[in-house]
Amino acid sequence: MTPEVSVALAAEHGLSPEEFERICTLLGRTPTYTELGIFSVMWSEHCSYKSSRVHLKQLPTSGPRVIQGPGENAGVVDIGDGDALIFKMESHNHPSFIEPYQGAATGVGGILRDVFTMGARPIACLDSLRFGRPDHPRTPHLIEGVVAGIAGYGNAFGVPTIGGDVAFDASYDGNILVNAMAVGIAPRDRIFLGCASGVGNPVLYIGAKTGRDGIHGATMASAEFDDESDAKRPTVQVGDPFTEKLLLEACLELMATDVLVGIQDMGAAGLTSSSVEMAGRAGSGLELDLDRVPRRETGMTPYELMLSESQERMLLVAQAGRESEVLALCDKWDIDAAVVGRVTESGKIVVTSGGEVVAAIPIAPLVEGLKYERPMARPEWQSRVQTLELPPPPADLGQALLAVLGSPSVASKEWVWRQYDHMVGDRTVVRPGSDAAVVRIIGSAKGVAATSGCNSRFCYLDPYEGAKLAVAEAYRNLSATGAEPLAVTDCLNFGNPERPEIMWQFAEAVRGIADACRALETPVVSGNVSLYNETDGQAIQPTPMIGMVGLLVRADRSVTQPFKAGQQEIALLGTNSDEIGGTEYLYVVHGRTAGRPPRIDLAREAAVGRAARELGQAGLIASAHDCSEGGLAVALAECCITGKLPIGATIELGDPMRGDLLLFSEAPSRIVISYPAAAAEQVQAIAERNQAPLQRLGTTGDHRLIIRSAGEPLVDLALAELISVYCNGFRRVVEGAA
């Protein structure tokens, strides 16, 4: 029985009375039930970006290397020699909170499809995760499930998961973040777009069968459904990495022929969004015959078939008359395939079922969607949290360092990445655990570096500055390995956009990303917006996750963070400052999240980055590690203890400032490097040529980390002590104290 379409039903679909009115006007009649479903998903925040579009316009999206900016399934940049990198980041926050394993797994599956639908073989994944308080009762279970889900999907599919970040904050207690990023490589002249062109061309469905997975949650509350409907409609999908692998191989083989016209994965809003968006890009129309859609359940309605979010499916348009080639290849790989429609010139999507038309909608208004300029207001508390009275320094700075180093957000994430196959593909040159990971390009000397993350505490204190800092840190992570930063993908996680203060945070963050990306010449080529991340009116800290990829001319000269030998010089590219607003130190040692994030000079950031890259690729430095959470002291400690063998250091600082500020300030644009004494002159010259400040810090060697300032000892700790807190700080959150 089909429910009666009304304003009330539209409201249950998340459509306002005005939006419903618009639909009626557009069609010149009341929509059918299936049409209502189609509108509701196409005009949802997720598909239409209705709240965010006006702001996203600010982002720089072009550059000499950009082949494809935002608007397609993923962004594409040119890396020379006929190769292109294809990458994107996406969130799967809500499903991962409900079912951590499957939610995270299908998040990985979705982002992989976005990348291989464009013709790329995925060569790396990254995952940025946010959890609530470490001691929240649900936290360990959520971490276990999410990490196992990412591992379960990525490992079986065969993509190395090489990086990411994990952080904790109470604001994520009821709303964790699971942001997954995938990077693929493709021949630059064989990029496939989601475009349904060529009137008369067949539309094919390939991949897993359709079930009642994840059908628009809003409809579940509808009184029209019986008691069983809850059980009938799982909102959480189950991932099948094996089918995804088959789909990948089948797609890549298809793409090696010239039979494909366009292709797009069925992600959110499944068959609806893939078909509508493909026709929208081509300016064509589309006919779909639902009777031909492969399905795994009986009695599925047109509404369900159009809205199902079953995983591991693709929609493609082939050259007319060559359907059989597609079907044969799918048969080789044992996946379902069917011709489900054809391209028309009507400019409409016409859906039939049992010989009857169940939906006929003009495509243009569906894809143009809605655009809102939602009200914005700087929260009244913003100035309050930015004021900080400097707390007195702790008595024992060594203990303070141990506390910061062992804080779960800072401590080693080896527990996580050891569960990820980070080497499959035979490309991983720099494994997780350094600033950025590097995968080589087989058959060339080059390498690709990737990093993802965001300091959301900074974004909470000042979304504009925080977003700039996030871009700068990604840039710095790549530069430290020696990679030239190329382009950005983002995943903008925020609260409810209907609240003016959230909208303000969003707009400020986007402005920050735009300014930083412009200054650092790293255009944004793809991304994702995730809004409504809040529970009981408590929003998450604004979290504009930044993913960045870079290029190394020589992968064999990738630089990693740990010191490599004793008796080497240690120096700092950049300068220290005494800003401690929003630092991990302030949070861990003084229990406060307050102040202003450190200032950033993007020209200085670029200079430091250039110098680090030149030093690295020239083979002059043995190690490089940027200063981020935990500041200089944590960076130095990590240089000492993250190598194959721990190597100590003796540091003499001269900066005229309080010891705790000097140690723990998170001022940006700083990279700790080490090199043999013989290279000192060249290092100096390169730093100068790039206008990067260089300050000598000390020497490597022995088994302690000793930091003095103006002759006064600040820290003197055995490496074993550092190792113990660093290795256990995260693990104990999941496994309990050992």
């Binding site: 079930g211 059980a231 799982p234 999908q237």
Partner: protein, 79 residues
Amino acid sequence: MTAKIYVTLKKSVLDPQGQAVARSLGRLGFAEVQDARIGKYIEVKLDGTRADVRDRIERMCRDLLANTVIEEYRYELGE
């Protein structure tokens, strides 16, 4: 006492494991197989003294052994 607990995916939830097994059985010549579904079978040994065993097992299932978003469970009590 022993509780035998069966945790299975809800009917409409995709069961990739089961599908793969059904396909393999077919390939192995078991043409009569139409479908397979795979779940967990858990045997829990408990202190026999508790009167409210059923209640406790229900709780174990909901708290840990099954995720009721996608799974359902049933159990039998043995000796």
